[in-house]
């Protein structure tokens, strides 16, 4: 297989170095210096540069892959996820700058988390995934604690993360027992590995908000301020999916039962998320359940277990990240004005037209409005599952889309009706920039999805080395 040209490998090392150095600088900034603005500028520049670098590697590298020092692997799949994580953390930083009282600490923790996410994305072994997941989730616990808003959410996230860690380590041990290696490669044979696959689904299910393991999640999402929720749901959850895809597709593709389990759990996840979301009156809690249901759709693509399915899931992950962060940015703005309930946003249209329109568009995209990424993602997912003979799964998924429209439409309806408050309310420039970015990406890749489909297609193909070689 063709390798990367050397400068690209160096570029990758540079990238990790840059993110680590920003963490260090952030630490210094906290110690000596309390100026937030300079710190934000620095973070934005470094993350944007990293994102551009990853994008360049992605476009220049094509389908090539390369391992660095035998512990990390650069391929389109890992580059795709690292791009998502970088951009996500960048957007979250801008939201946090506007609404967090202690932005410096947030930025520091977020950069730690990003290193963990990179480790998961680039990992070649189960151990790196384990460490990366830990590194990604623990800073989030401290972020919630630092916000001093919700001790409960921090405790619940910590409990979930600990359970996940314990089970994950057990799964890794079983895998090592069964196959004699902790490297990510295709396992086969020993029956104990089937049990290991089950444990992987359970433990990563905590991270990826899969049904029975996500019961604590809505509390975790709705407790802390919106900028932290945007990171938890927009970026952290995707780490769980990155790990789940790598472990299941690379390691356990031979274990069909695992994928049937994923298919069944995806149905439960969708129904649980959608049905409970119907009854919420707190908009952030509704978004928490909605993101659970979206996780269900993403799982359909994993259950299909072929390149088309994974590619569709990656598309949906990309779509959902931008939609979720965009909506949460708007919610952060609403919280800034003391609005938490769905009833509070009645007549929002007359207060701020831009944010009302964006909220409506992003929610419609989640519901599946054509010419937005949310629709294309879901369409590709259902198409892949029908194409591989799982008509029932697509059918249940589509039923769920119908259910979900009700609660999204309810919010939009509230925004555009009700009392008219003629006074406009200004928006922080950073929030406006984040929302605008999310809306533009949602529309552009919704109307012209080909480039993104190409990228996700490459990324998905990287998980199926056998098919690629043939």
């Amino acid at each position: 297989m063709m390798g990367y040209i050397a400068p690209l490998g160096d570029a990758f090392v540079l990238l990790i170095g840059a993110v680590m150095s920003i963490a260090v600088i952030a630490g210094a900034a906290i110690t000596f210096y309390r100026r937030k603005r300079a710190h934000l500028a620095l973070s934005v520049i470094v993350y944007a540069a990293s994102a551009l670098l990853i994008l360049y590697m992605m476009l220049a590298g094509g389908t090539a892959q390369m391992s660095i020092g035998g512990f990390m692997l650069i391929n389109p799949f890992s580059l795709f996820f690292s791009l998502i994580f970088t951009v996500g953390i960048l957007l979250v930083n801008i939201i946090a700058y506007a609404y967090s009282k202690d932005y410096n600490e947030f930025a520091l923790l977020a950069s730690f988390a990003l290193i963990g996410m990179y480790m998961v994305a680039f990992s070649l072994s189960l151990v790196t995934i384990f460490i990366g997941l830990e590194l990604a989730v623990l800073p989030a616990v401290f972020m919630i604690l630092l916000s001093r808003k919700s001790l409960e959410a921090a405790a619940k996230l910590f409990v979930a993360a600990s359970l996940s860690t314990a089970l994950l380590s057990f799964a890794i041990v079983l895998t090592y027992g069964g196959s004699g290696t902790v490297a990510l490669e295709q396992y086969s044979g020993a029956e104990i590995l089937g049990f290991a696959a089950l444990l992987f689904i359970v433990s990563l299910g905590f991270e990826a908000s899969i049904f029975p393991f996500n019961v604590l999640l809505p509390d975790v999402y709705s407790g802390p301020p919106a900028h932290i929720t945007s990171m938890l749901g927009g970026v952290n959850k995707k780490v769980g999916f990155a790990a789940l895809m790598q472990v299941l597709i690379l390691g356990f593709i031979a274990y069909r039962q695992a994928f049937i389990l994923i298919a069944v759990l995806s149905v439960f996840t969708m129904f649980y998320g959608n049905l409970v979301a119907l009854m919420q009156d707190n908009i952030k809690r509704m978004m928490a359940y909605s993101s659970i249901s979206q996780a269900g759709y993403i799982m359909i693509g994993i259950a299909v277990a072929n390149a088309a399915g994974i590619s569709a899931s990656l598309f949906q992950i990309f779509a959902h990240m931008f939609i979720f962060i965009g909506v949460l940015a708007i919610i952060a703005w609403l919280e800034g004005h003391g609005k938490h309930k769905i009833n509070d946003i009645e007549g929002l249209h007359s207060e701020n037209r831009f944010l009302s329109f964006s909220l409506a568009l992003l929610l419609l995209s989640l519901a599946g409005l054509p010419f937005t990424t949310g629709f294309v993602g879901k369409f590709l997912i259902f198409l892949s599952s029908i194409n591989s003979g799982m008509v029932w799964l697509a059918f249940l998924g589509i039923i769920n889309s119908i259910i979900s429209i009700y609660y999204y439409a309810r919010v939009i309806a509230k925004v555009y009706t009700g009392r008219r408050v003629s006074r406009g309310i200004k928006v922080d420039r950073g929030i406006a920039a984040v929302v605008l970015t999310c809306v533009i990406i949602t529309l552009v890749f919704g109307i012209w999805p080909l480039p993104l489909m190409h990228i996700t297609g490459n990324a998905a193909a990287a998980l199926f080395p056998a098919a690629g070689a043939a």
Binding site: L380, L383, P449
Partner: protein
């Protein structure tokens, strides 16, 4: 070729008008909408009268999706009908929509582009996409500009409609997955869909059939329509009844010509349609709300059109298409007058409005002729549609095929009863306001086309 240049213009004009809408102020938005509707009308006429043409823009080639627009003998009639109805609705925008005009313009233009897109697309994916967008726009029409019960009606509408469109989506994806090579393009599917296994064909047909029956609507799935129409703003009702219901009929025609197995079960479609016709005509007689009564007659007419489609022969299909044209124009006219009655008398209640003819003679004549066209009296377009449908239906089903005439008789009686009670009764109710001139213009235009297509049907039927 000039015609293939006009073809995408039909969709592009409303989208470009959106730009003008955003740049100009709130006061000018109705003007933008009118100008756009006129241009679309001209572009549609130009395209249709140049004969068959097509236009392809590759979109997602890897999954067989392209923006494939086609004008042929099937859809040209529907295109003209949609352009006329949108033009008529745009003319009375000033009168019926007085708040949030810019947003109204946005919904209107998107609805116009997407409805014409549904009839034009020769790619099932795009067919679905346009279908879905126009439904969501209609939801907003009802929700933002509707009457007092608009929340309930809008949500009922959207739940039914999305159920319908998502069943359509499953059906389309099943077709895609079962043909070789995988494609959404109708020009290929018309051949290759025939080879799908009969069992699968039956499954797909059932899904699509339910979807189209919700949309048309036909009996067991019709309950969204009276509520949606009662609460929708007048222009919204005109568009919903005039254009959106026809998606179901057009879809049914595509389904029957694509999947041979569906044709074997056409007797069931016909049975549902006949029942729907009689049931809704009886329900219409019972209504005291004039808009609701008209809404029920629209179910009756769509039932008759479904009978023509189910017959699946040249006369039946042609009659159904012509019936859709006629129904679209006539029902918009009736809803227009009903809406004007509400503006002038502040009520839709048949028992509270008396003697309209004493005050507004022109509106009375518009309503009477609209009602005659809806029933299918000779010299109106409705007659041509009905006669073709029943000839076709008699050809396929025999005497049973003539059963829906009962429905026509019933709505005829109902219409005359409404005319007698509301328009020409001796008693007189004092109106609160004068109607706007635009109602007269819009109504006369609809009337003109209804009679034109009734007297000289061959200007449209000649395409075949």
């Amino acid at each position: 070729m000039l015609s293939s240049l006009f073809l995408p213009l039909i969709i592009v004009i409303p989208l470009l008008s959106l730009l003008a809408l955003f740049l100009l102020g709130e006061d000018r938005s109705h003007d933008v909408v009118k100008a756009s509707a006129v241009l679309v009308f001209i572009a549609t006429l130009a395209t249709v009268f140049q004969g068959s043409s097509s236009f392809i823009l590759p979109y997602l080639a890897s999954v067989g999706i392209s923006l494939h627009l086609v004008v042929n003998s099937f859809n040209s009639i529907l295109l003209i009908m949609a352009a006329i109805v949108y033009l008529a609705a745009s003319l009375v925008g000033d009168y019926f929509i007085k708040r949030n005009r810019k947003m109204y313009g946005l919904f209107f233009l998107l609805a116009e582009a997407s409805s014409l897109g549904v009839f034009l697309s020769y790619n099932l994916f795009m067919f679905y996409v346009f279908w879905e967008i126009s439904e969501i726009m209609m939801f907003f029409f009802i929700f933002v500009y509707g009457g007092t019960m608009r929340r309930y009606a809008a949500f009922k509408f959207i739940i039914y409609s999305l159920t319908s469109s998502l069943l359509l989506l499953i059906g389309i994806m099943l077709i895609y997955a079962n043909v070789n090579p995988h494609t959404f393009d109708l020009s290929l599917l018309m051949q290759s869909a025939q080879t799908i296994q009969p069992g699968m064909q039956l499954g797909i047909s059932v899904l699509l059939l339910i979807s189209f029956m919700i949309k048309m609507p036909v009996f067991p799935f019709h309950s969204w329509l009276p509520d949606a129409h009662t609460e929708a703003p007048t222009t919204g009702s005109m568009i919903l009844a005039g254009v959106l219901l026809k998606f179901g009929g057009y879809g049914l025609l595509l389904l029957l010509s694509m999947l041979p197995v569906a044709r074997h079960y056409s007797l069931y479609i016909m049975a549902f349609a006949v029942f729907s016709t009689v049931y809704s005509a009886l329900a219409a007689i019972k209504q005291s709300n004039i808009k609701r009564a008209i809404a029920y007659t629209s179910i009756t007419d769509m039932g008759i059109i479904a009978v023509g489609l189910a017959a699946y022969n040249a006369l039946g299909s042609m009659g159904a298409l012509y019936g859709m044209l006629s129904h679209g124009i006539a029902i918009s006219l009736l809803f227009l007058i009903a809406g004007t009655l509400n503006e002038t008398y502040n009520t839709f209640d048949i028992n509270k409005i008396k003697g309209v003819i004493a005050n507004f003679t022109d509106m009375t004549y518009l309503f009477i002729i609209g009602a005659l066209a809806a029933i299918g009296i000779p010299l109106t377009s409705g007659f041509i549609g009905d006669i073709l449908i029943f000839l076709g239906s008699y050809g396929t089903f025999g005497l049973i095929g003539l059963l829906p005439i009962t429905g026509i008789l019933l709505i005829g009686a109902m219409m005359l009863w409404i005319i007698e009670r509301v328009f020409v009764s001796r008693k007189e109710t004092e109106p609160y306001a004068e109607p706007d001139r635009s109602v007269l213009y819009s109504g006369s235009m609809l009337l003109f086309f209804s009679i034109l297509f009734g007297i000289v049907p061959f200007i449209l039927l000649g395409f075949r």
